[in-house]
Symmetry: C2
Subunit: 348 residues, 2 copies
């Protein structure tokens, strides 16, 4: 069978923060598209969006939307994926799903291409895109694990509101204006849409992302813990996470502590493996105050690492500061990378 040179692509959730970013990157990267279908909920259907200077009308996503689609990129929330991803697969599409619906399903590969590209091969129609804060952390940890082994990870996150969607960005902007005008802040969405209580995020820090689980951890924290083990093929790796939402629009940062297996490493040893790592950019020089920040990483597709330090007490301990755009590498770009590897490797 001759390989196609262009593909029919569907974007589900096309009017959302991630969906828009996906369409934008498909255009920038000149992805080999035959037909692009932009799909959404009934509510947003009819919206017109531009792709390569052509207006595309967003259609309501239904099971029949996927007839003739080669690859469907889902980012419309877990319930939509649960309902429609199997329908897309039935119609012969391969789904790259950006929600948490299938991530921990044993039948579904969970992929960061720089870390576990080969896992894509065993897909049965659905490939899951990991949680944004997980993606950037494993991209930084993988080269360290390969070179020196890893026996423990403890992470505290500094996460942007765009991870909670366009509405959350509006909420941060509105609250910021209210605060500066000495008005009471209106908190109706964060930390979690639909949860019982809402707190202001402007000039604040909320130690809750997603809902609480029975063990006292939030779902976001459990995603980081469980997804990291799955992606790195390290089911017994101890991983601990504390996830915090902050008044940033874009890019997550992470303070990561790692125990490596090899003793006596120097900072230069870590620098060397990070410099050579795919998708990672080392920005680390205390002498020139060089380190990544959420603003400096925004709209870029790489994972940036700085502040590499040896622990002062534990000879196997390393501290890192990891920053990446949560909507780009943390969502849209990683999704498109998976689609790209599906095609390049003939794994469709």
């Amino acid at each position: 069978m001759t390989k196609k040179t262009a593909y029919n692509i569907a974007v589900v959730g096309a009017t959302g923060a991630v969906g828009k970013k996906i369409t934008q990157i498909l255009e920038q990267k000149n992805f080999p598209i035959n037909e692009l279908k932009l799909l959404s909920s009934k509510r947003s259907a009819g919206t017109k969006l531009l792709f390569k200077n052509q207006e595309i009308t967003v259609e309501e996503a239904t099971p029949d939307s996927f007839a003739g689609v080669d690859i469907a990129l889902f980012s419309a929330g877990g319930s939509v994926s649960k309902q429609l991803a199997p329908e897309a697969v039935k119609h012969g599409a391969v789904v790259v799903d950006n929600t948490s619906a299938y991530r921990m399903d044993n039948e579904v590969p969970l992929v960061v291409p720089e870390v576990n590209e080969e896992d894509i091969k065993s897909h049965k129609g659905i490939i899951a895109n990991p949680n944004c804060s997980t993606i950037q952390m494993v991209a930084a940890l993988k080269p360290i694990k390969d070179a020196f082994g890893i026996s423990r990870v403890i992470v505290s996150t500094y996460q942007a509101v765009s991870g909670a969607g366009n509405e959350a960005c509006n909420e941060l902007e509105n609250q910021t204006k209210q605060y500066l005008n000495n008005e009471d802040m209106t908190a109706e969405l964060l930390p979690v849409k639909g949860d019982e209580k809402h707190y202001p995020i402007a000039f604040n820090a909320l130690p809750q992302i997603d809902v609480f689980q029975e063990n006292g951890y939030t779902f976001e924290e459990m995603k980081m813990i469980n997804e990291t083990k799955k992606i790195m093929h390290a089911p017994n790796l101890p991983v601990a996470a504390t996830c915090v939402r902050l008044p940033l629009f874009t890019s997550h940062a992470e303070s990561v502590y790692v125990d490596v297996e090899k003793e006596g490493l120097a900072v230069e040893d870590i620098w060397n493996v990070l410099r050579d790592a795919e998708g990672v950019i080392l920005e680390d020089d205390p002498n020139t105050q060089t380190y990544p920040t959420p603003l400096s990483a925004s709209n870029k597709e790489e994972v940036f690492v700085g502040r590499v330090r040896k622990d002062l007490d534990n000879n196997k301990g390393i501290h890192l500061w990891v920053v990446s755009d949560n909507l780009v590498k943390g969502a849209a770009w990683n999704t498109i990378q998976i689609a790209d590897r599906l095609i390049k490797n003939n794994w469709l």
Copy 2:
């Protein structure tokens, strides 16, 4: 000798963010003051400030300013303390110093009253007030250490700009307005006044507080590491810190990982000791989304702890979220507490 009933107090750095907070709390607490001297640099001398509805003219701080002063509360920067604290002592005053000038001096007690009040007793004229981020952490760790032992601490901080003074608050406010107006942000101060590079703090996170040391850690991180060991009388306790400045005006938060010595503790065991701890308020209920935040802790004098969790892999590991107002307990209130204990214990 009869104990005085009111004292001559000097506030050095009276026009700064911490100095103003000190004067405000002295008034609120009805501190037993005979005469209050407000002192500053030559530049700010002449400013008029209100204390209990009386106008006080700020005077330039000189060696002679301390004649007759019983207690001098310094927060005008390390170089002023280096120069004038010994002069105040020569004039018979006891100095409570809020800068880093004397903190690691073996002759100077470094005190958080809830943790090591007894250390005040051995002062030789100067008592040091610890760094803000250290104070709130040790207040939360002390009861845990006393009950269960502590063998390791790893902290990542979420710090407000007011720790860098009034000017830093103005910078955050101005940059925020610029960003919302789509203007370029003016960065002239943060992360560190006088350092070579400056980065915007609005909608950003800067992994640098104070200048870099030769070992790749910032001075703020080394303060947390060294001061914690000194205050807790635990010179060999492994402490690691990553300090991050955030777009918050007030209150620092900390994600703290602790290894306790006792095995098999339940979250309830930690809750119980924190509930009984002096100066600590437990705010922790995942079922009702109860946890402290920088906004909820602002203008309060306690240290707030929430998100207490057992590590999922390490049976001796505990995670905490610690929040406190960096200008109140982190600076002014802790300083005044030390002054108060000096008087109450007859240790002047």
